[in-house]
Symmetry: C2
Subunit: 189 residues, 2 copies
Amino acid sequence: MEKLIERIKSDGTVSGEDILKVDSFLNHQIDVGLLDDMGKEFYNYFKGKNIDKILTIEASGIAVACFAGKYFDVPVVFAKKTESKNLDLETYDADVYSFTKGKTYKVKVSKKYLSAGENVLIIDDFLANGKAAEGLISIVEKAGAKAAGIGIVIEKAFQLGGEKLVNSGYDLFSLAVIEKFENQQPVFR
Amino acid sequence: MEKLIERIKSDGTVSGEDILKVDSFLNHQIDVGLLDDMGKEFYNYFKGKNIDKILTIEASGIAVACFAGKYFDVPVVFAKKTESKNLDLETYDADVYSFTKGKTYKVKVSKKYLSAGENVLIIDDFLANGKAAEGLISIVEKAGAKAAGIGIVIEKAFQLGGEKLVNSGYDLFSLAVIEKFENQQPVFR
């Protein structure tokens, strides 16, 4: 998605070896027009898949998943990361290791909001090692539903999560794919 | 907002004395059509206020704030609840006590995304004791910006957060106001 790649080039900042910060339009401040365009891109790619539901993970996946949800006209479910008194006891769970935060957290979706046979589109902001996506896939499959597609805003291809998903037969579509970082600049595929 | 009140009556569940669960369309599974309508309602009420930015708090405020952001055509900023390696060190902070979770957490917004003189619309899903709204207002005011309005999806009026905000001169608009619970059913104003 050219518009996104241009925005990453102009507003993204790289810290350390391979941490890309896109806080100014995606992860903290949200450019609603750009995210709406992303929702439309996901729709155009996955519209033939009879999507029944979109699944994402709190917090930074929610915005883009909602804009996609508008185009598909389906409910969006966001997996919760922490235990909350207000969450149902009856949940599908997965453990997800976050390299960014350096810890494992539990991801939960109430059994009420995923049903056997549904075609679920998984949407998230980043794909690196693929741990979050794998956790969401395992939740979908525990529900007897199908992970009909995986839509990612920014994929860091060198961390191989995407390759693993594709090799396992999942339909992965990433709006921007970073091959590597060179002189603290992302190089896109 | 009649459509929201009808939805709460049909799909909301009350647990304990005064906990309303709206997980099926707002807090876990999201009805994107309904939230889009909510965004439009906020726009119709606050459109004369020259809103420059919308501020909400992760995670469940993000969706409704994004739909409102589309109508206002302004960026949405979501305050973060936990420390993350990816957040700027330069932040405006506030401590917020959550009665639901029984603990105090720190809420942060990067100084980059709030500027002096901006008219900020604060949007959140629930208003009860008003702690989250007060935290967001204090962050806005620390930035030298103005809390031009507070848009809430569901206000529990008997917990008095709303009354406090109005008495302090803030422009509060809640889409559904619950006066009390009677026989485990919400009674709307």
